[in-house]
Symmetry: C2
């Protein structure tokens, strides 16, 4: 039987194949990326979501390595949670290694990890897989696409990318190598679809430099710039613009400090100043000579910028004359938090610049013309759009068809769908479990039942009924105690709870008799549920508890 290649996207909340991807042969398996996802609104109380790796764990004997395309959290952040189950070497470029090391160190796991640095152009042998890192530009330096040779043909995986011909740090994408791969024949292209709905080209990161330059020149007082902690090139742009206009830069926010320190050590950031100096030193610098780099551009509730906006930051008090830049675009779902932060900064008298009104951010992903260019260079037989919500994958698929990929060779996969390819044909052969694992607090241990209960509690609260029964006769002793939380305001509560007690006694056949125990709970639920809904239009969780004495 001829060898087949199986491709399985795992983990991607909304965005398919975003956070983890499996490539599997008869005797070898590699994992591409191991990212975390941020919980959706209805995943109440959940801190993080990570991919369910049981598909890989079941095949651990043939796992040859975890290959990471770049250092963003949605591609690396699950490592601290899954490494103990996977136990395989991690292959990545140097900056990516630095960012992963910061993360693993935080979790006290750095010593257990086998991190191996790979150069762009270098070829790894991972079982029957040959993996070559190909330089790609993205909003973080040292990003890579992967050219993967397999017995059935070559796979090209773009990673996250845009085609920035003038990147702020590092070199542009290695289009020559991609063209060469295309000439030699690409069996399967898997390509970033995040901005497949945007026509034209994504502007270079350089365009932000011009805006930063003008703002550093014009701002009358302090400048506070919030951006992603991993957006190393943006940090460099800020350092450059600040140096030009003789502003001293300070960094605040834990993750930004950690990343900046690492990037300085590794040579990905260059400055002549001590940007990691304690904020106390800021006092000696006049406002018009000051720039502060910080986290919180997504309105994250505990971040430095949000604390400033809420007058809750230990060292920085926003005042009229301050200029605040949000050098970021909103991750869908964060719009309200960001808007609230901007409003609160305005309330304190700051001038606020954000992407809607100023040129302070560019997208990090390729638009349609760049996607076409990659399709043109690689000329793949098969195409799997990656990294995007379903509609983006569909659009990217349409682009591929328009570029000449046969309609039946374009596969818009859902997470867990197993695509099998030999050299000539491809088909979806089934679906692996590709559930999510919810991280809340110290550990996993949140499942669908817990989330369903939280949603129920969140929407209408809870009513607890304690019924004391005589263990010999089964008769209730006294009236039931009824206590509620999150259900109704206190002043309306007393009489309602009183009447709820009556309803419970009625449901049980009066104070004289309690029928079969199993039946009693159902009866309480039903009659109390109906009573409360009629009275209030709400359906709190009902929790009847019996004490036998």
């Amino acid at each position: 039987m001829p060898e087949k290649l199986r491709v399985v996207p795992l983990g991607g909340l909304g965005e398919i194949g975003k956070n983890m991807m499996v490539l599997e042969l008869a005797n070898d398996l590699i994992v591409i990326d191991a990212g975390l996802m941020f919980p959706e609104e209805e995943m109440l109380g959940v801190d993080l979501v990570i991919p369910d790796v049981s598909y890989i764990v079941e095949r651990r004997h043939k796992l040859r390595g975890i290959v990471i395309t770049h250092g963003h959290e949605d591609h690396t952040g699950a490592l601290p949670y899954v490494l103990s189950q996977l136990r395989a070497p991690i292959y990545c470029t140097r900056l990516t290694r630095g960012l992963i090391a910061v993360k693993l160190e935080e979790h006290g796991l750095l010593n257990d990890a086998d991190l191996r640095v790979v150069q762009a152009g270098e070829k790894l042998k991972l079982g029957q897989f040959g993996v070559e890192f190909v330089r790609m530009t993205h909003s973080i330096p040292d990003s890579a696409g992967l050219a993967i040779s397999t017995p059935v043909g070559t796979v090209f995986h773009t990673g996250d990318f845009k085609l920035d011909h003038t990147p702020v740090t590092g070199q542009p994408s290695d289009l020559s190598r991609i063209a060469e791969l295309g000439k030699q024949g690409v069996l399967l292209l898997m390509s970033d679809s995040t901005y497949a709905e945007v026509p034209g080209y994504t502007p270079s990161e350089r365009t932000v430099s011009e805006a930063l330059d003008r703002i550093m020149a014009d701002a009358p007082g302090r400048i506070i710039i919030a951006t992603f902690a991993s957006l190393i090139s943006r940090i460099q742009q800020v350092l450059d613009a600040a140096a030009k206009h003789d502003r001293r830069v300070f960094v605040t926010g834990r993750s930004m400090l950690d990343n900046a320190e690492m990037a300085l050590e590794q040579g990905y950031l260059s400055t002549t100043e001590d940007i990691l100096a304690p904020l106390e030193k800021m006092k000696k610098v006049p406002p018009e000579r000051l720039a502060i780099l910080t986290t919180g551009a997504q309105g994250e509730p505990m971040s430095a910028l949000v604390r400033m906006a809420n007058r809750d930051h230990r060292h920085i008090e926003i005042q009229p004359g301050d200029t605040v830049l949000l050098s970021s675009s909103a991750i869908p779902g964060n719009e309200m938090l960001i808007n609230r932060t901007i409003d609160n900064l305005y309330r304190l008298g700051a001038q606020v610049l954000y992407s809607r009104i100023a040129n302070v951010h560019v997208r990090g992903h390729a638009a349609q013309e760049e996607l076409k260019l990659i399709l043109n260079l690689t000329k793949p037989r098969f195409f799997v759009p990656l990294h995007g919500e379903y509609r983006h994958l569909v659009m990217h698929g349409e682009i591929a068809k328009a570029m000449g990929v046969a309609e039946e060779n374009v596969f818009v996969l859902e997470d867990g769908e197993m695509l099998e390819l030999d050299g000539r044909r491809a088909e979806v052969v089934g679906r692996a479990g590709a559930d999510f694992v919810y991280v809340d607090g110290l550990a996993v241990g949140v499942d669908r039942v817990v989330l369903r209960d939280r949603r129920h509690l969140a929407s209408d609260g809870i009513l607890v009924i304690i019924l004391t029964l005589d263990k010999h006769t089964g008769k209730p002793i006294g009236r039931p105690d009824v206590v509620s939380r999150g259900f109704i305001e206190a002043e309306m509560s007393d009489s309602l709870m009183q009447r709820a007690g009556d309803v419970v006694l009625d449901a049980l056949g009066g104070a004289e008799h309690v029928s079969a125990r199993g039946d009693a709970n159902t009866r309480i639920h039903e009659s109390l549920g109906r009573f409360l809904y009629d009275e209030t239009g709400r359906r709190p969780m009902i929790l009847p508890l019996t004490v036998e004495v």
Copy 2:
């Protein structure tokens, strides 16, 4: 003492002065608009938010009327909830009356309401206030600005507006009358700030007609158009485009049907066809001759479009060949719901068009150049930016200053702030209660405590401890019962609950002794809280209940 005019914005969640505004003289008071707000994410389980009208109730003796600028829910939707407290005549234009009547009828309140239709240009005498309705264009016909004469001078309140010179139904804004008011002297301008951050002009509603025309011509099968139920002009545009391309239109979705029926009766919609026919009749029409108008453009979970996307609609099953239009833009906070709906429609094989990729919607509010035009025509002495989040008000204020309004005469108010003006000076004299009232289910009765408890329950669930005590000795009888919901998954729960019981007994000084009752609860909270946080990193609500026997 000379008469003073007091202006108090009330109610506006994020958007200041959006939903209700009070104008008050010594002996007279009028209310402008009475809208509802949609709850923010953290207002768990809340269906609607309405303004707290206690400021008005305290002054009900001088309330002369409620003046409504236009028929959108965020300007009318609180009427069913506040009318019984306010009991005043409602003045509005004819279409607005129709929409309010539909709403009041739903609540069985239409007979109690005193609805009075006013023509544009007509002048009302409401105590010492003279109120003139001035025709303004917005995304709903029959919108009005208000020219209000008072003993201290003339106030112009724009209502929601954009300057559409070629509206789909009705006439353009009455700029001549506004210019005339300006010439006679405007003391105070209050103007819509929703799009104060957008440069240039807002395009005419007409531009959407061209897109609709092309789509009706090209779509290979059925066309399903989702939009706001109150966007009457959009409905007319759809009817016109469908008629031109010989497509039969059906309407589905309760609120859309109610509004369309009323608008047809009142002459705001015109068609030769029976667009209100039951959907069963659809079966006889071939797909390429069909267009369906529906609700759900914001991804509202129970709406017709979302039911279609979830394969849960009784009459309409989405299939390949269908074209779905979302003729709307996302209200901030709804992005995730909308994206999910689009993705699910794509999964069923539909082609989906929405404002990001097609020209199927235009904004309903004025952009910067239109705001300048109104400032230029009215030349007000004082300026209060309205209807917008705080940053929009600040920007609109800056525009006013650039247009010549004195810096000290621009007032960016927060809800509840009381601005007092005589003919020459204005100042903020204090702050009225401008809280919100939360509507959940049948009634109000949700307060901050209830919401706080819901947030607590939502994030980490609840742990109920039932402790049975001997009422004579105060000693615990047996072990405490510990039950949790929404806290931790079942398989980890048993041993944890067991150990939690031990912690409770320990906290009470062992099984032998329970100290003072009040103290016991505190001790249980503290030690159990610490134990659970150490074990799980979570902080569930802890509810200790004692049963004495």
